[in-house]
Amino acid sequence: MQTIHNIPMNMYLLLSTVLFSIGVFGVLLRRNAIIIFMCVELMLNAVNLLFVAFSAYLGDTQGQVFVFFIMAVAAAEVAVGLAILTMIHRNTGSVDIETLNKLKH
C-alpha cells in the first residue's frame, strides 16, 4: 500500500503529543473521577497511535503486538477501576475527587 508514504512521521509525533497533552490537561482540570479516568484512556490511546505509527514506518509487526497487549491491559484496568469507582460512589455518595482527602493531613 502507498498510503503512509505521503504523511511525514513528524505529523504522527505531533498528533500523539497533542492528544497526550489534552489527556494530561483533563486529568489536572476536572474533579469528576470518571472524566479523569476517560482522560487516562485518551493518554493510553495517544501512545498506542504512536506505537502503530512507528510500527508501520519501521516495517515491524511487533509494535502492533504491543498495542494489542496494551489494549488487553487497558480493558482489565478499566473494569477494575470502574468497580473501585462504584464502591467509592456507594460509600461516599459522589465521585468528586476533592471528597477523597483522608490522606491529606
Partner: protein, 167 residues
C-alpha cells in the same frame, strides 16, 4: 488524498478530545470520547493496521465505553452538576498542561525524526502476520495476559458485590 484524510481525522480527534475535557455532562464526554476512538481507528487504517483498527473499535467503542456509560447510568449524574475547581487551580491546570505540551514539542524539534517508511508489507497489519508473531514470539505474554484477565475478573466481582456479613 490521504494527506487530507489524515488532517481531517487528526482535526476530528483533537477537537473531540478537547470536548471530552470541557463538556459538563459526563454522558457527552463519553460520546465525544467514542468519536475520538473512531478517529484513531481511522488513523490505524491509514497506517495499514486493519486488524488493530477492528480490535480498537470492538474493544474501546464496543466494550469499554459501554462500561463507562453503564457506570454513569447507575450513578445517575444527570441532576447533580459537578462543582468545578477554583479559578486558581483551573489556571494552574491550564498553564501546566500548556507547558507540558510545549516541552514535548520542543523535545521533538531537537530530535528530528526524519524517517522514511520501511519496506511496506501490505499484509503486515492483517490477522495472519500478527497472529504469527503473537503465537510464536509473544506466546508467554499472551498466556500471562489471560491470567491478568482472570485476576481482573475476580477482583471486579469481589469489589462489586455488596458485603452483607459485616455491617
Amino acid at each position: 488524498m490521504t494527506l487530507y484524510l489524515f488532517y481531517f481525522l487528526s482535526f476530528l480527534a483533537i477537537i473531540s478530545a478537547l470536548m471530552v475535557v470541557v463538556s459538563k455532562n459526563p454522558v457527552n464526554s463519553v460520546l465525544f470520547l467514542i468519536i475520538t476512538f473512531f478517529a484513531i481507528a481511522g488513523h490505524y487504517v491509514l497506517l495499514n493496521a486493519q486488524f488493530l483498527a477492528a480490535v480498537h473499535i470492538i474493544v474501546y467503542a464496543g466494550a469499554i465505553m459501554v462500561l463507562f456509560l453503564y457506570v454513569i447510568m447507575m450513578m445517575n449524574f444527570s441532576k447533580e452538576s459537578e462543582p468545578s475547581k477554583t479559578k486558581l487551580s483551573q489556571i494552574v491546570a491550564t498553564v501546566a498542561g500548556g507547558i507540558f505540551l510545549i516541552t514535548l514539542i520542543g523535545a521533538l524539534h531537537f530530535y528530528d525524526v526524519d524517517m522514511s517508511p520501511g519496506h511496506s508489507d501490505p499484509g503486515a497489519g492483517l490477522v495472519g502476520a500478527l497472529g504469527k508473531v503473537l503465537f510464536s514470539k509473544f506466546l508467554l505474554p499472551f498466556e500471562i495476559s489471560s491470567l491478568l484477565f482472570l485476576a481482573a475478573m475476580t477482583g471486579v466481582v469481589l469489589l462489586g458485590k455488596k458485603n452483607n456479613d459485616n455491617s
